[in-house]
């Protein structure tokens, strides 16, 4: 149990309304978007300013208490699950966009600023913050940085790490440090580069300097309809092979098409095997020729038709289908688990077949909606959590799918992170020496391992094992 004196001191820092410790109120924080494991924190602290985050961490450092950072709780790998960490530090009240520099296309945003707010704030200047995870109306910049979030348009524009110039980090010691900054080519190690994607294990991101991009002069958004996922996958490979880099290249299979159409009714072909959502953007000149090339590739792969959004409203409707696809899945089953894996792009047809086989073997329905252009798959495994046998089969099938990704030369996560969900599978990708290097890096920022413990790395046993024998021998 948390010492009452500590809770009182936390209140003194963040105000009475910034500490949650009533059991019924704490239930909200028992999980994030990954719902298969749950744990309730003892106390949740909601600082109002970066300085308060640092003050909270100084207090916890003095007491040797571990903590879990959390933004909006939309993560999908259990990265905010409080395991052996009694205090949760929630950045949702750090919600100011502090500075907008239109001419230099930079924004300074506090960690709790919602991704979508950034683009909303600069849209009038024809600027956008490019990383666009599906959860962008809710997820925060701090969480995006922790997970190195992606999104459909990262195919052309890059993921979070390509758009973060600087990060202010509250270290577990309670020290606030600014890493990187507004200008490029800073001397020193790329600490911003490793802080992005550290899943909250280096401390808590309090604010960030983000790079904006100018919205392109023109868009063409296409919906290509196929009889099968195989045919659509072939078109994906064909587009890439033709040297075309679309802004986005997304696939939805039949199950998703039906669910989305039932939910939003935008006229998707419910009898299709798969659809591809292809967006091309850039200067208007030359865009038409690219559209024609994409259409030709789709036709060669056997597309039934290729529709083109006629205006912004149609484009918005198509994107709404894609980004809210997960919401529509609720119509298919009481529960679902979204997997996140990556394969080399030419292996998309292979992995889709492997997913179908895993579904058949484990008697599960699996829907697919994913970033086909960069080989980042998102099979959605449907289940009913009251059926314990089915839950076990979901976990087993998920594991098999990830193993298949690794076999095909890919990775176990493209944008959701390792969290608690995939700790056990890290050794599929990394040798003990690789993991040792990562653990060594973590200790640079968090020598006591108090920031988001029991995440990313297989388990405590590994930490013990990895006390470098080589280094001891050298001493």
């Amino acid at each position: 149990m948390m010492a009452p004196a500590l809770v009182a001191e936390l209140r003194a820092i963040v105000g009475a309304d910034g500490v949650v410790d009533r059991p019924e109120a704490l239930l909200v924080y028992e999980c994030d978007g990954y719902t298969l494991e749950r744990a309730v924190p003892e106390v949740v602290v909601l600082p109002r300013e970066p300085g308060e985050v640092a003050a909270v961490l100084r207090l916890l450092a003095a007491e040797g208490v571990a903590f879990v950072p959390r933004g909006a709780g939309t993560g999908l790998s259990g990265g905010t699950l409080p395991v052996a960490a009694p205090v949760m530090v929630c950045t949702s009240r750090l919600k100011r966009i502090e500075q907008i520099d239109v001419a230099n296309r930079r924004v300074v945003a506090q960690a709790g600023v919602v991704n979508q707010w950034v683009t909303n704030a600069v849209r009038a200047h024809r600027l956008v913050y490019a990383p666009d995870p599906s959860s962008q109306p809710a997820c925060t910049i701090g969480g995006n940085i922790a997970e190195n979030s992606g999104g459909p348009h990262t195919l052309k524009y890059g993921v979070t790490t390509n758009h973060v110039l600087g990060v202010e980090l509250a270290l577990p010691s309670g020290e606030l440090v600014l890493l990187g900054g507004a200008v490029e080519d800073r001397p020193g190690y790329d600490l911003v580069g490793v802080a992005v994607g550290a899943e909250g294990t280096f401390g808590i991101v309090t604010r960030a300097i983000l790079r904006l991009v100018r919205s392109p002069e023109a868009y063409r958004t296409l919906l290509a309809v196929f009889e099968s996922v195989d045919a659509a996958s072939e078109a994906v490979s064909g587009v890439i092979a033709a040297g075309i880099v679309p802004a986005a290249l997304e696939m939805m299979d039949a199950l998703i098409i039906q669910a989305v159409e039932a939910a939003y009714g935008v006229g998707l072909p419910t009898d299709a095997g798969a659809v591809l959502l292809v967006e091309l953007d850039g200067p208007a000149a030359g865009l038409e020729r690219q559209v024609e090339r994409v259409k030709a590739v789709c036709a060669r792969a056997g597309s039934r038709e290729v529709r083109s959004a006629r205006d912004d409203a149609e484009r918005a409707a198509l994107w709404k289908c894609r980004k809210r696809a997960f919401g529509a899945v609720g119509r298919l089953a009481p529960n679902y688990c979204t997997q996140d894996g990556v394969v080399p792009r030419t292996k998309v047809p292979d992995i889709v077949r492997r997913i179908a086989a895993a579904g058949a073997r484990h008697r599960l329905r699996i829907a697919n909606v994913f970033h086909a252009g960069d080989g980042n798959i998102h099979p959605i495994l449907l289940f009913d959590e009251r059926d314990r046998d089915e839950v076990a089969r979901v976990l087993e099938a998920g594991r098999e799918i990830l193993e298949a990704c690794v076999e095909l030369g890919g990775s176990i996560t493209g944008e959701h992170g390792i969290g608690v969900e995939k700790m056990g599978q890290m050794p599929l990708l990394f040798t003990p020496d690789d993991l040792r290097a990562m653990i060594r890096l973590r200790a640079v920022f968090d020598p006591e391992g108090r920031s988001n413990p029991h995440k990313i790395f297989p388990d405590a046993k590994v930490c013990v094992e990895t006390r470098s024998p080589r280094r001891q021998a050298a001493m």
Partner: protein, 416 residues
């Protein structure tokens, strides 16, 4: 120390001479491993014997960074030069660190692809060199830097262990982004032996428009007009007086690189010419855009006592071009990135100019690094300048990854 020849063969180990010097420090040995295993054995031996080593490719960029405090062994990776795996359909390539850029480019070109990194001296630049020194050129304006294209790395750490980070897929968040640690680290955290990049389709054509300006300020304004338009130039360089010597005016000019298919280039060319005309500036079209880009990219290694790299916000580029002005001083900037290179001919002018530019830049959140300089110039200046709040973490990082301080000691920030 003996035993190098036992590892790499007699022909691969020799005494260092003046031509192998790193910023004036002559290594006792030059060792050229033939495999990753030999690199591991060399580093392990160095660790045991506590000798300092500097990794090198073809030696074209060893003048980047601080002078090493000592160099016992120059580890040349030029015999690790294979393109290991180009997957054209996946648009990825895995390559050994000692591979020269032209060899890699030739393989990629067969599939109409490129790795859009264009450092100076490309013929003698290796993949490992691009990464370790974080080299870039005009293309970074639209294509990003090495950190944006690198997706996987293998390094030999200070104990001799082979450590991998990242992978071979274009999107991957499994574990920490270790590859980024080694970009620009000058080999102070380990020896890069292999890298995997995402590659891109190479534009069908590349040409350029050069806009002559009467002075640096006008050139910077013209570059801003391009940046604020709907044009998406492949690259955009802006020069102060004397910057583009073979350009249409006195050297103050903007060079706009255009890439893509015919329709795109034709349209963009017309728009650039229109922008120039609207400002009353003359402009010429350069058919060989790639050739001009290579010449401009070479600015950083043209003969000079020192080349400074000034980082500012893109809107402050004009101020830097105006401030860094005078006899024997030439400037060329990556306009979209706010990175200005200042070449200084007179060795005695370097230190005062660095001081002046640092003072000006600091007022606007900018900074100045002495990117390259002759050894005798380097000793008189602080090469790196203010590193910022992260220096403490950087020291801990170095201590964690190279506890014996044998990896290129002294070359990096804070004397690391």
């Amino acid at each position: 120390v003996s035993g190098w020849a036992d590892i790499v063969g007699a022909e691969g180990a020799g005494r260092g001479g003046p031509e192998d010097a790193v910023d004036g420090v002559v290594p006792a040995w030059v060792v050229r491993p033939r495999s990753v295993a030999e690199v591991q054995a060399c580093v392990a031996l160095a660790a045991r014997e506590r000798v300092a080593l500097v990794a090198s490719g073809l030696g074209a960029h060893l003048d980047v960074g601080g002078a090493p405090s000592r160099v016992d062994v120059l580890l040349r990776l030029d015999r690790l030069a294979r393109v290991l795996d180009h997957q054209a359909g996946d648009m990825t390539v895995t390559v050994e660190a000692g591979c020269p850029l032209p060899s890699l480019a030739a393989v990629l070109a067969e599939a109409g692809q490129w790795l859009p990194l264009d450092p100076p001296r490309p013929e003698t630049t290796t993949v490992g060199g691009v990464l370790a020194a974080d080299l870039s050129g005009p293309l970074r304006g639209s294509q990003g830097r090495a950190r944006d294209l690198l997706i996987g790395i293998r390094i030999v750490d200070a104990s001799g262990a082979l450590v991998a980070g990242g992978g071979r897929v274009v999107k991957n968040v499994a574990g920490y982004d270790l590859p980024k640690l080694h970009v620009g680290a000058l080999g102070t955290l380990g020896v890069i032996v292999e890298a995997t990049f995402k590659v891109r389709p190479r534009p069908e054509r590349e040409e350029a428009v050069v806009i002559a300006a009467p002075a640096a300020r006008a050139a910077a304004d013209a570059a801003r007009a391009v940046l604020d338009s709907d044009l998406e130039p492949l690259w955009l360089e802006v020069a102060g007086a004397g910057g583009i010597a073979d350009g249409p005016g006195d050297g103050a000019a903007v060079a706009v690189g255009l890439g893509g298919i015919d329709e795109e280039i034709t349209d963009a060319r017309a728009r650039v010419l229109e922008l120039a005309a609207a400002s009353g500036l003359g402009a010429v079209t350069v058919a060989d855009g790639g050739g001009l880009r290579a010449r401009l990219g070479g600015f950083a290694t043209e003969p000079a006592a020192a080349v400074l790299r000034v980082s500012v916000l893109p809107t402050d580029v004009g101020d830097v071009l105006e401030a860094a002005n005078g006899p024997g001083v030439r400037c060329l900037a990556h306009a979209a990135n706010g990175v200005v290179r200042v070449a200084v001919a007179d060795p005695t002018a370097v230190a005062p100019l660095v001081q002046d530019l640092r003072r000006r830049a600091a007022r606007r959140g900018g900074l100045v690094v002495v990117e390259r300089a002759r050894p005798e110039v380097k000793v008189a200046v602080d090469v790196w300048g203010d590193v910022g709040e992260g220096l403490g973490l950087m020291r801990r990082l170095k201590a964690a990854f190279d506890p014996g301080a044998v990896m290129a000691p002294g070359r990096f920030v804070g004397g690391l």
